[in-house]
């Protein structure tokens, strides 16, 4: 059953991704002022959305781990954090490529950029803790705390364009969505494509975490057998 869902998610992600690429490069018109470079926006925003969603999953599963101490929640958490880190990295790299063309600078210390960079460091910390702390229980607990605290940065990133002076574009404001219907359709398809892709990757990364645990268990068993 799960394998069938994974298969459909994979097919769905591939098809919507191809549609999104067609829409970005051939269907949606260029933005009047910025020109073709504005089209980075569609996958930049979609990546940001999926990273927020991934960290929301980390937040929920980390809470569940701290409550139940069941390692499976920690494994879901670790799987989701890796995807979140991937897409935050994409946001941090694709943003400056657009910024170089639009602002004339690769990087500015803008509140949204800085808070996103902080998010990236927090989840990098999460992954480093999971990989480097030898005591498993301690690593799980620390990572869960990091995952929960890290998610608090997500609403700060979202509202940073309203709370502080910023040069980052505001697509969603009190006045509504400031893009044309064609642009909105392309953005929504891009978001759907990357969200389906997240759904396809998550169980695979969970299986990797599960296999790591199983291997450690088997190696311990082997040691016990050899000692006997």
């Amino acid at each position: 059953m799960i394998e069938r869902i994974e298969k459909y998610l994979g097919i769905g992600a591939t098809v919507t991704m191809l549609i999104a690429i067609y829409m970005v490069f051939a269907w949606v018109p260029n933005e009047r002022i910025m020109g073709p470079v504005q089209k980075i926006f569609y996958f930049h925003v979609a990546s940001a959305w999926v990273s927020f969603f991934a960290f929301f999953v980390v937040f929920i599963t980390a809470l569940l781990y701290l409550r139940t101490r069941n390692p499976k929640w920690d494994m879901w958490s670790a799987a989701s954090a890796q995807i979140g880190l991937l897409f935050t990295s994409i946001v941090i790299i694709s943003g400056p490529i657009w910024g170089r063309s639009a602002w004339g600078a690769w990087w500015t210390w803008d509140p949204r950029l800085v808070t996103t960079l902080i998010l990236w460091f927090i989840y990098l910390g999460y992954v480093v803790i999971k990989a480097s702390v030898i005591d498993k229980e301690r690593a799980r607990k620390l990572a869960a705390i990091f995952g929960i605290i890290g998610f608090l940065d997500v609403p700060i990133i979202w509202f940073s364009v309203n709370w502080w002076n910023t040069i980052h574009p505001k697509v969603v404001s009190k006045a509504g969505i400031a893009i044309s219907s064609k642009m909105l359709a392309t953005l929504l398809v891009s978001i759907l494509a990357i969200t389906l892709f997240y759904g396809w990757m998550l169980p695979r990364l969970y299986r990797i975490e599960l296999l790591r645990e199983r291997l450690e268990f088997l190696k311990e068993q082997m040691k016990v057998t050899v000692r006997r």
Binding site: I40, I90, I93, I97, W98, R100, L205, Q221
Partner: protein, 54 residues
């Protein structure tokens, strides 16, 4: 246009590398677990055979 292509190249390269690494890790870990399980199973069979022999 150059910046647009650079942006999408980076995005696709990052995703492709991640998926490649994920697939590689999954295959390696599955093979290693199967290998250890097979070794342990053959070890147990050997133990039983030895116990029967004495």
């Amino acid at each position: 246009m150059n910046y647009l292509m650079a942006g999408y190249t980076v995005i696709w390269l990052a995703i492709a590398l991640f998926v490649w690494k994920m697939g590689k890790d999954l295959n390696r870990l599955e093979a290693e677990a199967a290998r250890i399980e097979a070794r342990m199973a053959s070890g147990k069979r050997g133990e039983k055979a030895n116990a029967g022999g004495y």
